[in-house]
């Protein structure tokens, strides 16, 4: 066990924090600074964390954590969002309570309530909000973290998400996914001629807004891993093709030129190119790689009459998993990123589709369709270890949270004979197959695409 001074702590936190500086409040970001230790307090050095709990695979008992109200007004709203974020993972058992923000808490009282960790926090300011947060290891009686966050008032939700991410990381040992957004397709109107709009929201459903007007069928948004860009499919002017949407400027550009429909886009892990599928005149679809800087395209598959679609890179960029009916029915295949021969990896009952490679690299999520309905599942990149996460009339379009721990997907309920009863929602589930919950949206929602952590 090692201790360090406030100055050392400041140095460490500046260099360890993912967001030690977020562009400053003027740029709409959040400024993070370390807090001095409270009288006689000690802090654990990073690297010898006693409270790091690994939850890599199994569903373990949630960590009991006290999150008190941060104070009247914005403070309580911020602590409310932190509580909701942590609860939403299913990995924390969030309890209310009182924890002083300017003194060491009563560890024995917290312990007797069953708490393992406690958060202390306060908020001040109006136009510019300053939030102080400390994280206490109740069992060891130590401060695990102490930071101040400053941002413009309009960014209070981001402060809350960033605090929740830092708690997640300190306790679970990996990056969280709360300061992220989900792009999706907002659906309104009857099923026969639904209005579909490109939309974006925070991962918890807040701050939802529409990016396109809904004049044309719009599907399949995908986030760039490196920039504020989305690729998506639009039927504008009855010419279905892939566009790139710039979230900063609102500008849309057509990606490449194809004779048929270009669709199913996916960014490469380095963000420099997009892989997509394009239909051919012989009834098939080929995979293409398009360099975003030069717009040069390279065809990766070309089997006549075969549908190759839903391509997705492995996180190291070395391989591509995709959906193909080259063997007679839609199944999953893996090939090298340069193209060439592909190996089938799906062998269960029914048809497979919509594969997506986990950012951790160790799993591929997919949809399996059999007479019983749709199953959302995961398997190893070699096809081994297939397991089901959830099932339903329609569960599809999986998209991993940036840390690979959770999946967003679309869940649709069947319509009755007259079309009533149909619903379409974006839901999230832990990759271990528990804690499924719907993200609240004001319209029908489908096609979720999880963003990387915001910068």
């Amino acid at each position: 066990m090692s201790f360090f001074s406030d100055t050392e702590a400041e140095f460490l936190q500046k260099h360890l924090s993912r967001r030690s500086l977020l562009g400053g409040a003027a740029a709409g970001g959040v400024l993070v600074t370390p807090l001095a230790l409270l009288g006689g307090g000690r802090a654990w050095a990073a690297g010898s964390e006693p409270a790091e709990i690994t939850v890599a695979n199994a569903h373990q008992a949630p960590i009991p954590i006290v999150v008190p109200d941060f104070g009247p007004g914005l403070g309580n709203q911020i602590s409310g969002v932190i509580s909701a974020d942590l609860s939403s993972t299913g990995l924390f058992q969030v309890m209310g309570g009182t924890v002083p923000s300017s003194a060491q808490p009563d560890f024995s009282a917290l312990k007797s309530r069953g708490a393992r960790v406690a958060v202390a926090g306060s908020a001040s300011g109006s136009d510019s909000v300053r939030v102080e947060m400390r994280l206490w290891d109740v069992v060891a009686g130590q401060q695990l973290e102490g930071r101040a966050y400053t941002a413009s008032q309009g960014n209070w939700r981001r402060i809350a998400h960033i605090i929740a991410d830092s708690i997640y990381k300190r306790l679970l040992g990996e990056d969280g996914y709360f300061d992220t957004r989900i792009a999706y397709i907002a659906r309104t109107g009857p099923r026969r001629h639904q209005s579909t709009r490109l939309a974006i929201m925070d991962q918890d459903g807040a701050n939802a807004h529409m990016l396109t007007s809904g004049s044309w069928l719009t599907l399949e948004p995908r986030f760039s891993p490196i920039s504020e860009k989305l690729a998506f499919l639009s039927y504008a002017n009855n010419r279905p093709r892939v566009y790139v949407y710039d979230l900063n400027s609102g500008q849309q550009t057509i990606l490449g030129t194809f004779e048929g429909i270009s669709f199913a886009p996916r960014f490469s892990p380095d963000g420099r190119s997009i892989i997509l599928s394009a239909t051919t005149r012989d009834g098939g679809a080929d995979l293409y790689l398009i360099d975003l800087a030069t717009q040069q395209r390279r065809r990766l598959t070309s089997a006549p009459g075969v549908i190759d679609t839903s391509p997705c890179f492995s996180p190291d960029g070395q391989n591509i998993v995709f959906n193909s009916d080259r063997g007679g029915s839609p199944q999953l295949y893996v090939m090298s990123a340069g193209g060439g021969s592909a190996r089938r990896i799906s062998y269960g009952k029914g048809h497979y589709g919509s594969p997506v490679w986990s950012p951790r690299g160790d799993q591929i999520a997919f949809v399996r369709i059999s007479s019983g309905g749709f199953t959302l599942g995961v398997m190893g990149p070699d096809g081994v270890g297939e397991r089901s996460l959830t099932q339903g009339f329609t569960v599809e379009s999986p998209s991993f949270a940036p840390n690979g721990r959770a999946l967003a997907f679309c869940r649709q309920n069947a319509a009755g004979a007259g079309g009533s009863g149909f619903s379409s929602n974006v839901a999230v589930i832990d990759v271990a197959g528990f804690n499924e919950h719907v993200i609240p949206t004001s319209t029908g929602a489908s096609d979720p695409a999880w963003s990387p952590l915001r910068r």
Partner: protein, 160 residues
């Protein structure tokens, strides 16, 4: 000469107005409704196509092979198109919702292509035929019953 020019322009406008109609809703059923209004459908119109030949053909689950009923419908469409050589068409392939969104876009295109190839073999000029696929996103029948799914696995021809 000048009059003829105007006539051609007028037709181009009519076609342009019609093509805007494909956005965000299907082209299904409208023809049947229009047909009931007057004595008979306007020759060469969508309603005329529906009344004379039928505007759609159906497919089996995950298939793009035309059955005898479908081929008969397309035979009549080809004859009708031969009568109205100025009419261009859009063939839209559709799927039931028992596949993934992405695979179904390709499958719908495959169905549209099957209809297009058949019409071309029957003498319709390739330049007159445009194809599109809506995958599973423009169902003709709302329900999620085997009967509705069968109706939604189709290729629909519309005048553009």
């Amino acid at each position: 000469m000048k009059l003829k020019m105007f006539a051609v322009l007028g037709m181009a406008c009519a076609l342009a107005a019609c093509s805007g109609d494909h956005k965000n809703h299907d082209n299904n059923g409208d023809g049947q409704n229009m047909q009931q209004i007057s004595q008979g459908p306007v020759p060469g119109s969508q309603a005329d196509l529906v009344a004379t030949a039928g505007d759609r053909v159906y497919f089996e689950l995950n298939k793009n092979q035309l059955n005898s009923e479908g081929r008969a419908t397309l035979d009549k469409q080809a004859e009708w198109l031969a009568r109205y050589p100025q009419v261009n068409i859009l063939v839209a392939g559709n799927c039931d919702d028992r596949g993934t969104e992405e695979y179904n876009i390709a499958l719908g295109q495959r169905r549209a292509n099957a209809a297009r190839e058949y019409l071309e073999a029957k003498g319709v000029a390739p330049a007159r035929i445009m194809t599109i696929s809506y995958g599973k996103d423009r169902p003709t029948a709302d329900g999620d019953t085997p009967d509705a799914w069968a109706q939604n696995r189709n290729a629909i021809t519309s005048v553009r």
